[in-house]
């Protein structure tokens, strides 16, 4: 990149089922804490990009009351109506333009004030699938999971192993909403079936929360308290879910390839020390292993069985607990970015993995991961 850009501050609110605060206050808390961690004040911020969603908030212009709590008043401000990892992309581009040195990026949502799984139906084609009543957030994921399992011979136990790993990891993340001490495959297999093969413990939990990161370019970044440098980014969008094969994540693979080329990564399975993946449903983490090149196509099940992605494995994935442990919609992918940065700077606390020099973060938007974005971060 022409200009080097780094994550120099971050904060996440605790993820909760029913936060004791409005969304504005959650945003304010995250923004203040992220700025403090960066050692900056509001005056230093050049641009603010938020990620929030009109139909989740039940009103249009969902950022209109976030101007003050995000620190954006009388500043360059915009939003994306997608995952926060895309807000970070927008902020990155603003910094690369050379017109700003510091960007605040915030994602948030409050599942406790709306039926959080219901809006998925609103993303369906209104002239056909929405009227037919067969697809929703869970049944669509179930069709994706079955398609993947069938093509590559993946078992339900291998999918359950993802949930057991991540919910177990979440015990060491004090901010996680859903943590299950000593979670086992048997326990996950015993959890309630929603739409086969999707079980409750394999589906993201309704979550309140916010995440903020501070991006900086040039001298500000070099003089910062800490820096996790953005080495590469890639993002691709796939077609509507009935018009593409659901057994693989093509757009994620393309995004990863683009990101790796930018970051100079040739052997991701060796060069990447840790990954934070947006697995809205457990099987998506296995599919992501393949798309990200951590293992060969169809080998996601064997890869989890090998223990490689455990906290003590060769390529830990989601030591934070991932999205299965907390999914504040619009903040989830941004939180992956924050978590990856925390691992690089050595500030991940109890879920810190030793010696992380290169980390990957993934965000997604749309039913069955229609669009995907991948970042690679590096230390000094």
């Amino acid at each position: 990149m022409e200009r080097e850009v780094a994550i120099i501050g971050y904060a996440q609110t605790p993820y909760e089922e029913d936060a004791d605060a409005s969304r504005e206050i959650l945003v304010l808390r995250a923004a203040r804490e992220a700025l403090a961690s960066a050692g900056l004040s509001r005056d230093d911020i050049g641009t603010v990009i938020t990620a929030n969603n009109d139909y989740l908030d039940g009103r249009t212009i969902s950022n209109m009351r976030l101007v003050e709590p995000s620190g954006a008043c009388l500043k360059d401000e915009s939003k994306v109506e997608m995952d926060g990892a895309y807000a970070a992309l927008y902020a990155l581009m603003r910094l690369l333009s050379g017109f700003h040195d510091v960007a605040m990026v915030i994602g948030e949502s409050q599942a406790s004030v709306y039926p959080t799984y219901a809006p998925g139906v609103m993303t369906l084609d209104p002239t056909w699938d929405r009227q037919r009543g067969l697809l929703n957030e869970v049944s669509a994921a179930a069709l994706q999971a079955r398609s993947y399992m069938n093509t590559y011979g993946i078992s339900e136990e291998q999918i359950a192993a993802v949930a057991a790993k991540n919910l177990g990891n979440a015990v060491k993340n004090p901010l996680a909403l859903r943590a299950v001490p000593g979670a086992t495959v048997e326990q996950v297999m015993g959890s309630r079936m929603l739409c086969s093969p999707i079980r409750e413990m394999c589906a993201w939990p309704a979550t309140d929360g916010a995440c903020a990161i501070v991006l900086a370019a040039g001298d500000v970044a070099r003089k910062a308290n800490r820096a996790a440098w953005i080495r590469g980014v890639g993002f691709y969008h796939d077609s509507y879910l009935t018009e593409r094969p659901l057994d693989k994540m093509t757009s994620l693979k393309m995004a990863a390839d683009k990101c790796y080329a930018m970051a100079g990564i040739e052997h991701p399975e060796v060069e990447i020390d840790l990954a934070e993946i947006s697995e809205l449903f457990a099987h998506e983490e296995l599919m992501a292993y393949e798309a990200l090149g951590f293992c060969a196509e169809g080998k996601g099940g064997e890869f989890i069985d090998s223990g490689a992605t455990r906290m003590d494995g060769i390529l830990p994935v989601n030591p934070s607990g991932g999205v299965l442990a907390a999914n504040a919609v619009c903040a989830a992918g941004l939180a992956r970015l924050a978590e990856a940065a925390m691992q690089i700077t050595g500030e991940a606390g109890d879920h810190q993995v030793k010696g992380v020099k290169t980390a990957l973060a993934h965000g997604q938007t749309g039913l069955c991961a229609q669009e995907n974005i991948v970042y690679v971060l590096g230390g000094e």
Binding site: D18, A19, D20, A21, A111, S112, V113, Y114, P115, T116, Y117, A118, M122, P126, T127, W128, D129, Q131, R132, L134, L135, N136, E137, V138, S139, A142, L143, Q144, R146, S147, N150, R192, M193, L194, C195, S196, P197, I198, E200, A203, W204, P205, A206, S239, T242, E243, L246
Partner: protein, 153 residues
């Protein structure tokens, strides 16, 4: 949080049925649905890449305009499936009736999937690759309902 239930509401409702979608699909859909009365399933073929869309769609990912109607089969192959029972999760309530078998079906001659509800099938025999066919009413009405259900072929 206690006070969220005390939010003042403005009475009224957000009736999504009042929303309309103005695009070519409506015209295409009329033709598609009319042919269902004759138990014929039509697809729309892209002149550039050859993809056949069923239901029809006026734009293709290759940036061309599908416009050639082709008759496709009312039989096809199951590409994926799920058993959806009765559950509530994340604020959603589903399946207040009998459990459903939802299948993704690639009708012979189509390149896109049509979801349908499979009936008269033994769960143990439902699998990817299974052949199914549209369950026609004796007198199809020319509506979306006509191709909602399928049967083992």
């Amino acid at each position: 949080m206690e006070y969220k239930d005390e939010t003042t509401s403005i009475s009224g409702s957000w009736n999504l049925g009042q929303w309309h979608w103005k695009h070519e699909t409506a015209v295409l859909m009329q033709h598609f649905l009319a042919s269902l009365k004759d138990k014929k399933v039509l697809g729309l073929k892209c002149p550039e890449c050859g993809l056949v869309y069923c239901p029809p769609k006026p734009y293709c990912s290759c940036l061309s305009i599908p416009e050639e109607w082709v008759e496709i089969s009312d039989e096809g192959v199951v590409t994926t499936f799920t058993f959806s029972g009765s559950w509530s999760y994340g604020g959603m309530e589903e399946g207040a009736g009998t459990p459903r078998i939802i299948v993704g079906v690639m009708l012979d001659g189509s390149n896109t999937e049509m979801l349908s509800q499979l009936e008269d099938a033994d769960r143990d025999h439902v699998d990817v690759g299974m052949r199914v066919k549209v369950k026609w009413a004796d007198e199809p009405q020319g509506t979306i309902e006509d191709v909602m259900h399928s049967l083992p072929a």
